[in-house]
């Protein structure tokens, strides 16, 4: 069973204080009855309670379970356990699993099985009558939503026209409330994708140099959503899906049965968590070793919910990955895994920026509403330039590094001025690096350094 590195385990921590507390527990003295067997690791940790907490992890996930009352996930005990294992595997001896470990693993397997079963059940309804009823209900609901969205799009069109008529300079003087109000109306119109873009406006207006260009670009993109929706039926299937996604239709996982599924060794190339309207959104980028396909897995969590921890940056997992339909499919879900997580190898990467930009153009052409596309390039160097950063490829081309990137000095230090491989997100204007490989060492750059 592949053991995660210390860095990968720390990347799973929900926040900095958990990471620190977890490191405090990465000490055999804190534990009794440590052990591991196959994919299971377990130990008992004396906390403030009377009985020690029973902590365990399933390395194949990784997944955690702990009897402590913490609402954080994974909790410090789970992190401590895996850090202990990562630091020195010999301190966690091979042993026979106690009953509480066997039970949990069995329960996990049973749940997974049940889920798979439910998925098949939902696709094949019990009898034609129920199926027809269900289908009817679904159609009724979706027709109602279409109607609401249609009205919403009309409203949006008028709003955009007003914006343009009065001019962007005028709009810049307005309080950000007017965008929030419009966003709220779009939520009511069941177009959350549009609402999210509207909420971004105040930040774009305030983004400094060339803000007007960015505002116009965003407004133009919204106009194309309106336009696309008005002639949805005439669009090719992929683009139709992209327009619907852009407006805010989501596809439930079980509805993806006919969707394109790709089996490959998927390398987890980078991860980043951002706050979006009181929601934490985690973007995990994976790349297929054989198919060279890139995919984006999203995980959402409200205040005390937890983000998915099953795809640590810098690891590889063989799995079936299903893509959401789109003109340029990227968003995907990991369906079935085959085998365990392993360490990263040399991934497929473009030799220079020209090729990266070609691939970006293909993505944007397929789905004009994509906000970011993956970017993986070999042999490039970060360069500090007038308090900003650029990335330079071996042909002498350079692209700006996003001002949102807070680990530029770290990336620069890793390079030592010599070429390295960088993975990141390209938004059409700047690159946000998420990881780097120098020599054979993978470094995740999506999180926060101490």
């Amino acid at each position: 069973m592949e053991i995660l590195t210390i860095e990968q385990v720390l990347a799973l921590a929900p926040d900095a204080s958990s990471a620190k507390a977890g490191q405090g527990l990465a000490n055999p003295g804190k534990w009794v009855a440590l052990g591991r067997k196959g994919r299971s690791v377990w130990g008992e940790c004396q906390g403030s309670g009377k009985d020690p907490y029973r902590t365990q992890a399933d390395l194949s996930g990784p997944a955690f379970h702990c009897s402590c009352p913490s609402r954080k996930f994974p909790c410090k005990h789970g992190l401590g356990l895996l850090l202990l294992l990562a630091g020195n595997a010999a301190r966690v001896p091979e042993a026979e699993a106690p009953a509480w470990v066997v039970e949990w693993i069995a329960k996990r397997d049973a749940t997974a099985e049940k889920q798979a079963q439910r998925a098949t059940e939902e696709t094949t309804p019990p009898d034609p009558e129920t199926a027809a009823k269900r289908e009817q209900e679904r159609e009724r609901r979706s027709a109602k939503r279409e109607e609401r969205v249609r009205a919403g799009m009309e409203e949006l069109k008028t709003w955009l026209n007003d914006l343009l008529r009065q001019g962007l300079a005028h709009a810049k003087q307005q309080p950000s409330r007017i965008f929030d109000t419009m966003a709220a109306r779009m939520v009511d119109a069941q177009a959350p994708g549009v609402a999210r873009r509207l909420r971004e406006f105040p930040a774009i207006f305030a983004s400094g140099d060339q803000w007007a260009e960015r505002v116009l670009e965003q407004a133009g993109s919204l106009q194309w959503l309106v336009h696309g929706f008005s002639r949805l039926e005439s669009l090719p299937e992929g683009l139709r899906a992209s327009v619907r996604t852009g407006i805010g239709w989501t596809t439930a996982e079980q509805e993806l049965t006919d969707a394109e599924t790709v089996r490959d060794q998927w390398q987890v190339t980078g991860q980043r968590v951002e706050e979006e309207d009181k929601l934490r959104v985690q973007r995990t980028w994976i790349a297929g070793r054989t198919t060279k396909r890139a995919a984006l897995c999203l995980s959402f969590a409200a205040a005390n919910q937890t983000l998915d921890v099953s795809l640590p940056a810098g690891s590889v997992v063989e799995a079936d990955v299903t893509f959401h339909p789109s003109g340029a499919p990227l968003r995907a879900v990991v369906r079935e895994r085959h085998g365990e997580i392993r360490a990263f190898g040399e991934p497929a990467a473009c030799p220079d920026f020209a090729e990266c930009l070609d691939s970006a153009a293909t993505f944007f052409a397929g789905d004009p509403f994509l906000e970011r596309v993956p970017w993986y390039v070999r042999d490039c160097v970060p360069v500090p330039e007038n308090n900003k950063w650029r990335l330079l490829d071996k042909r002498g081309s350079s692209v700006p590094i996003s001002p949102k990137f807070t680990n530029a000095w770290q990336l620069f230090a890793i390079s030592g001025g010599a070429p390295l491989s960088v993975f990141g997100e390209w938004d059409g204007h700047a690159l946000l690096p998420l990881s780097a490989i120098s020599g054979d060492k993978f470094t995740s750059l999506g999180g926060v350094f101490p």
């Binding site: 620190k20 001019g167 962007l168 116009l216 106009q223 153009a361 001025g417």
Partner: protein, 499 residues
């Protein structure tokens, strides 16, 4: 692309003010179907243009590649050690960091480059870390720091601060000059003397303590006439360390008539007779002999104060030569004297100034304690070689048994133990450790909270496995202390393991 610029300008102004933009010909054919000129078609065209631009984005070609860092000499620390370093930088037992860095560089290891920015930031704030970060950071740290003005301290050249720096920066610059060219530093002070305010003059004078020699004596002698009391006090302190200065000669002349040694006989012990000095004349006042030198206090009379000041400025060998007695005999002889406290204080001060080991030993054995509150915050123990110091401290710990509740005894032990830069000699470490274990039998006493980690930091690394044992870990605060020992042990030993 001019068309895009036109669109942006029009959008800024607003279409109601009449601004219109035109698509480039290549896009005209694709998008502009109906020729309508309303806001919707404007936005549709602008959106298409933006996407067109985005898809055809061109990289710049005028960025220069940075200089490549020198290849690293050592190999990198293991993944486990990198984890330890991350933990310390994240706030876990940061006290161990300097020692850990020193050990890493001793083993020729390099820290992972991605942690260098954080390390350099810490070293900028904390001077004590600088040498360690630079050593364990290798050529990569040198290279990196050259690119960030915040980290200039790490590049080899310190900028010249003497001319236009702040007072602190000028003092630092002066200190550096004093190390390399002592005379040059003195010349600089002399040239700045007339124009600088009193506190600056006092700060500069204090820097002459390093590499002090008879060459400084002429300048210091003139500085005795300075207007500022603070400056004069600093000058006297320096002159008293120069046995051949005219100042010291005057002090010896004043001191000699004051002490007389009487050899003991069959029935009487040897003793010292004291003659107190008279009222200070103008010359004595110029030499800093002020009965109120110690401020308002009731421990010493005016004349006793003068006695202390005079004795503190007289070379101690004057007494061993004059009475033909070793320091221990002279110290012993004064114990019954009425002015013993004043004399011991004066001699202790003199021993500290002259860094006299033999006298330090004798005074440490003296039954009469000096008046510490009138003395500089140095310790006679610190004058002794490590072995002798350790032996004395160990004996002290063993003899007094260090009661758990005796906060004062622990505090003074802590300050004495701090005179060791690195780890303690094993014999002393054993004594302290067993006293500490004993004191923690019911949890760490409150007065030890602040010092316990410090004690552990001074244990020799080889003792740590044993130091981990026999603690009452269920008692309050003890588990955290043991964890500290364990972390120090693990993080140091992990460095010498390759994987």
């Amino acid at each position: 692309m001019n068309a895009w610029k036109d669109f942006v300008t029009s959008a800024l102004i607003g279409t109601e003010k009449g601004a219109q933009a035109v698509l480039p010909g290549s896009l005209e054919a694709i998008i502009s179907r109906d020729g309508k000129q309303d806001e919707t078609s404007f936005l549709t065209q602008a959106g298409a243009l933006a996407l067109w631009k985005k898809a055809g984005w061109k990289p710049a070609a005028d960025t220069k590649a940075p200089v490549v860092a020198e290849p690293e000499q050592g190999r990198s620390v293991s993944g486990m050690s990198a984890g330890h370093l991350r933990a310390m930088l994240g706030g876990r037992f940061p006290r161990i960091l300097p020692e850990w860095l020193a050990e890493a560089s001793r083993l020729g290891l390099r820290v992972p480059p991605e942690l260098l920015p954080t390390l350099l930031d810490r070293a900028r704030q904390d001077r004590a870390l600088r040498a360690g970060v630079l050593a364990a950071g290798g050529s990569r740290a040198q290279w990196l720091s050259a690119h960030n003005p915040d980290w200039v301290f790490a590049s080899r050249e310190e900028p010249e601060m003497w001319e236009n720096g702040t007072r602190e920066q000028r003092v630092v610059a002066l200190r550096a000059v004093r190390c390399a060219q002592p005379a040059e530093a003195r010349t600089r002070i002399e040239s700045a003397w007339k124009t600088e305010p009193a506190d600056t003059r006092a700060a500069f004078i204090a820097e002459l303590a390093a590499n002090l020699s008879n060459e400084d004596s002429n300048f210091l002698e003139t500085a005795l006439d300075d207007k500022s009391k603070e400056v004069r006090r600093a000058v006297v302190d320096l002159l008293a360390r120069l046995p051949e200065s005219p100042f010291t000669g005057r002090m010896i002349a004043r001191a000699k008539p004051m002490l007389a040694f009487k050899v003991g006989g069959l029935l009487s012990r040897a003793s010292l007779d004291v003659t107190l000095p008279g009222e200070p004349d103008a010359a004595a006042k110029r030499d800093g002999l002020d009965p109120k030198a110690f401020g308002q206090q009731k421990k010493l009379g005016d004349k006793a104060v003068l006695l202390v000041l005079i004795l503190s400025a007289v070379p101690l060998r004057v007494w061993t030569d004059a009475f033909q007695q070793p320091p221990a005999a002279l110290v012993k002889a004064l114990e019954k004297n009425e002015f013993a406290g004043a004399i011991v204080t004066g001699w202790t001060w003199a021993a500290l100034r002259q860094r006299d080991i033999a006298w330090a030993e004798a005074l440490l054995d003296c039954a009469v304690p000096p008046h510490d509150e009138f003395l500089p915050k140095e310790n006679l123990l610190a004058l002794l070689p490590e072995d002798a110091r350790a032996k004395r401290l160990a004996a002290g710990v063993r003899a007094t048994g260090l009661k758990k509740a005796d906060a004062e005894a622990w505090r003074s032990l802590a300050s004495e133990l701090d005179s060791f830069a690195g780890s303690w000699p094993p014999m002393l470490a054993c004594e302290v450790l067993s006293a500490l274990r004993h004191a923690c039998a019911d949890g760490i006493p409150w007065h030890l909270r602040a010092n316990a980690e410090g004690f552990i930091s001074h244990l020799p690394a080889s003792m740590l496995p044993d130091a981990l044992k026999s603690w009452p870990t269920d008692k309050e605060g003890v588990a955290a202390l043991v964890e500290y020992i364990a972390f120090r042990h693990e993080s140091l030993t992990a460095l010498s393991q390759t994987q």
